[in-house]
Amino acid sequence: MSAVTETEAAAFVPADARRAGRMLNAAIIILLCVWVLLPIYLVLVNALSDPQTVTGWPKHFVPTFDLGSLSFFISYAGVLKALGNSVVVAVLTMVLSLGFGAPAGYALARFDFPGKGVFRLLVLMTRAFPLPLLALPLAVMFIRTGLDDSLFGLALVHTTLALPFSVLITASLFSGIPFELEEAAWTLGCTRLQAVRKVVLPLALPGIAASGVFAFVTSWNEVFAAAVLTIRNRTLTAFLIQSLDVSPLPLKFAGAAVLVLPALIFLFAVRKYLFSLWGIANR
């Protein structure tokens, strides 16, 4: 009923007012795109230019396609190891947060248990404490348990950061899959676990992948815990914050590019799944 009146109302809006609305819409979209793309573009341009161009004046907006800065950065002692560490920690974080998050999300979506609402809230509350507040006690505990300066230990911390989102995203995914499908699987010979594996997981896969990427990127970008909890096994972010502060400008751009690119590529690879998570290409 209200939809009808809305479309009727829209029909009476003057043409130029509608055009103005469209223009505003387009302006906002362009602004948001520039907001996101311009820094990335500047980073890439400067990373791909020779050092003289980067430090010189006037500024160039077309790269000179000089790989000098990048190759110097890559060959810089410790960078490749830090890059490898970052990947290991991010993958571990992804596996852990999906491994714990998806079952928790399933429980939230499918079962009514006492304290469900409180649990949902508490999951988010873990994000209410700033990491710097937790870092010191964590570091002490890690040293006591021998987890300090280990990639697994850091992945655990990153998992606590990524887990709330894994839980909530997968919960909404699972509750979007009709329970009737699972029941149908039970009547067709499945146990509860088989029904989840054969029916629910394949249907939730796009969203689970997106949630996994989110966990990966959360870990990839995390710098504080990484800097505090690792010494020899630095991740890329921790390594950069430690060494690039005192490096020349071209090298900073090269570091930023190396940091941004994997996250960008990963997100681009799963963009189809992200879209389906947002309901654009679902069903």
């Binding site: 149908a184 067709l188 088989q194």
Partner: protein, 345 residues
């Protein structure tokens, strides 16, 4: 092929009791329809037979085996769901084969059964499609084929036709009936649609407020409703009821005396099609006339009550006219005012 025996099944959710001690015996190869308005507990009962819900009390036996605490997969049942529940990530072929693969049947046997059931439901041409590419009616066919492919001892159907449009429902109803008659599988079918129930059932179990109020053949349920509720629920338009007043040697109904059983208080019931124009009978002013082609539905005001009659289309009736209709004596039914139970004449 199996009997179903339901004994004292009760289901409560907190303080709400959905089912009050249901007892029901379903014979081998019988087609039993659970009929009732929404919220009467019919779907809950079906789900308890399926093993999707467990009863708070009571037991369920299928083919003589106690299954009350067995999961759905161990009961030898298969089920057709209201929203079809066709797996969207599998082709039609894989949907129908799903249960067979779970049983680890040989590839050739899976292929044979899928083809046969797809043939039965006329969906041979759709086997490579996904459910997103199917219409509602086609999805329904897939759901039924998937259930039949299991060759279950009991087939359970939860309002399988309720999401189809009227014409398709009519077509699917006839098709279901012929397919199921051939397979001779014991079937429990839940619906709120009395026409569906009448046309499909060997026996109908009418449910109301968590009780089974009558279990009988369709024609028996129609002709001899066990309670006033059944008379008012089954039949379109439903049975007419008029208050009766005890008088010397019978009952006074809308100003006319009828012979009836002895009781404290009775209500008079008559089906709209069991009324004929006559010299003497119920006189009432015609309020609404609805020509329906084969016949016309006339709503009158008899003794302050709405009173419907189904009359021949050729009979001229005009609005405001006072019509006198006589009930067919053998079709008159009496109901106890207090309990609503039918009282034999």
């Amino acid at each position: 092929m199996a009997t179903i025996s339901i004994k004292g099944v009760q289901k409560s959710y907190g303080t709400f009791t959905a089912l009050h001690g249901i007892d029901l015996e379903i014979a081998d190869q019988e087609f039993l329809v659970l009929l009732g308005a929404s919220g009467c507990g019919k779907t809950t009962l079906l789900r308890i037979v399926a093993g999707l819900n467990s009863p708070s009390r009571g037991s369920v036996k299928i083919g003589g085996n106690e299954v009350t605490h067995l999961p759905p997969r161990s009961r030898g049942i298969s089920m057709v769901f209201q929203n079809y529940a066709v797996f969207p990530h599998l082709t039609v072929f894989e949907n129908i084969a799903f249960g067979l693969r779970m049983q680890k049947l040989e590839k050739a046997e899976v292929e044979r059964r899928v083809r046969r059931c797809a043939g039965l439901m006329h969906i041979e041409g759709l086997l490579e499609r996904y459910s997103g590419q199917l219409s509602g009616g086609q999805r329904q066919r897939v759901a039924v084929a998937r259930a039949l492919a299991m060759e279950p001892s009991v087939l359970l159907m939860d309002e399988p036709l309720s999401n189809l449009d009227a014409l398709l429902r009519l077509e699917m109803r006839a098709e279901l009936k012929s397919v199921l008659q051939e397979s001779r599988t014991t079937t429990v079918y839940v619906t709120h649609d009395q026409v569906e129930a009448m046309s499909l059932a060997d026996r109908i179990a009418v449910m109301h407020g968590g009780h089974i109020v009558q279990v009988a053949t369709p024609i028996e349920v129609y002709r001899n409703p066990a309670t006033r509720f059944v008379g008012g629920f089954i039949g379109s338009p439903p049975m007419n009821f008029l208050p009766a007043e005890a008088v010397e040697g019978g009952w006074q109904v809308a100003g006319k005396r009828y012979e009836g059983p002895r009781a404290d208080g009775l209500e008079f019931g008559i089906r709209p099609e069991d009324l004929e124009p006559a010299e003497a009978g119920f006189a009432g002013e015609v309020r609404v006339i609805e020509p329906l082609g084969a016949h016309q539905l006339v709503t009158m005001n008899v003794a302050g009550q709405l009173f419907r009659a189904v009359l021949d289309s050729d009979r001229r009736v005009s609005l405001g006219e006072t019509l006198t209709l006589a009930p067919r004596p053998d079709r008159v039914r009496w109901f106890d005012t207090a309990s609503g139970l039918a009282v034999a004449a």
